[in-house]
Symmetry: C2
Subunit: 135 residues, 2 copies
């Protein structure tokens, strides 16, 4: 079974690493970022409309995929527990899921979204509209 992901684009953000992060913020203080979609996949954005809420799937490329027990929210004061009971980026398949609003289509392959806490260069693996009926 082929479970090899393709990269459909990358995050372009003022957040350059996991620790310090000078952020480009909107008036409301949320971090705004750009999503650059690979030309090979731009057709998949047809009919995308600003204002829509999206689920953005990323690949935490700097993650350690080995731990099965982690400290919740990285705090060593919290007892370790199973990684599938946490949202730690360190997990067997380091898929990130981010709820964002599409602010604008800057060009056919460039989406401006917020809020997005992901470092510059993070691979994008999928974009879905928010499910119907979800608040």
């Amino acid at each position: 079974m082929d479970l090899e992901l393709v990269i459909i684009g990358y995050v372009r953000s003022s957040i350059k690493d996991r620790e310090t992060a000078p952020k480009m913020e909107s008036e409301e203080g949320a971090v705004r970022a750009r999503i650059e979609i690979d030309p090979a996949y731009v057709k998949g954005l047809d009919s995308m409309v600003p204002g829509v809420q999206l689920e953005l799937f990323t690949w935490f490329h700097e993650s350690d995929r080995t731990p099965l027990m982690v400290h919740p929210r990285g705090s060593v004061n919290r007892p370790m527990r199973g990684v599938f009971t946490t949202r730690s980026p360190n997990r067997p398949n380091p898929i990130g899921l981010h709820r964002v609003t599409l602010i604008e289509m800057e060009s056919p392959g460039v989406l401006v979204v917020e809020p997005l806490e992901a470092i510059d260069g993070t691979p994008i693996i999928d974009i879905k509209p928010k499910p119907r009926g979800m608040k």
Copy 2:
């Protein structure tokens, strides 16, 4: 960059194919299913508690990964649009995202969840708790 997913478990369901589906239902009518986690990953379920709401990530292994334009909800009466503006299972990375409630831990590696509309044998690639603050 290594973007090869590992399979952490499989869906066990009375839904055997994408068309006809005799369903095991709870009293409320939702489809109940089992998630069997591979022994190599069972430790990642430590501290998992029934009643919790989970985000279950699956791999639609029967999908066609090539189309970038699709008819919304598979209806040919609806004009085609970019696949990233739909939740079609046919997409470049056919990742499924399901919101489910954990009904019980049947054994250390077997979760009973509902509702889950996924066919028997669907690979599981991640399990995360619902984010804080999300309704």
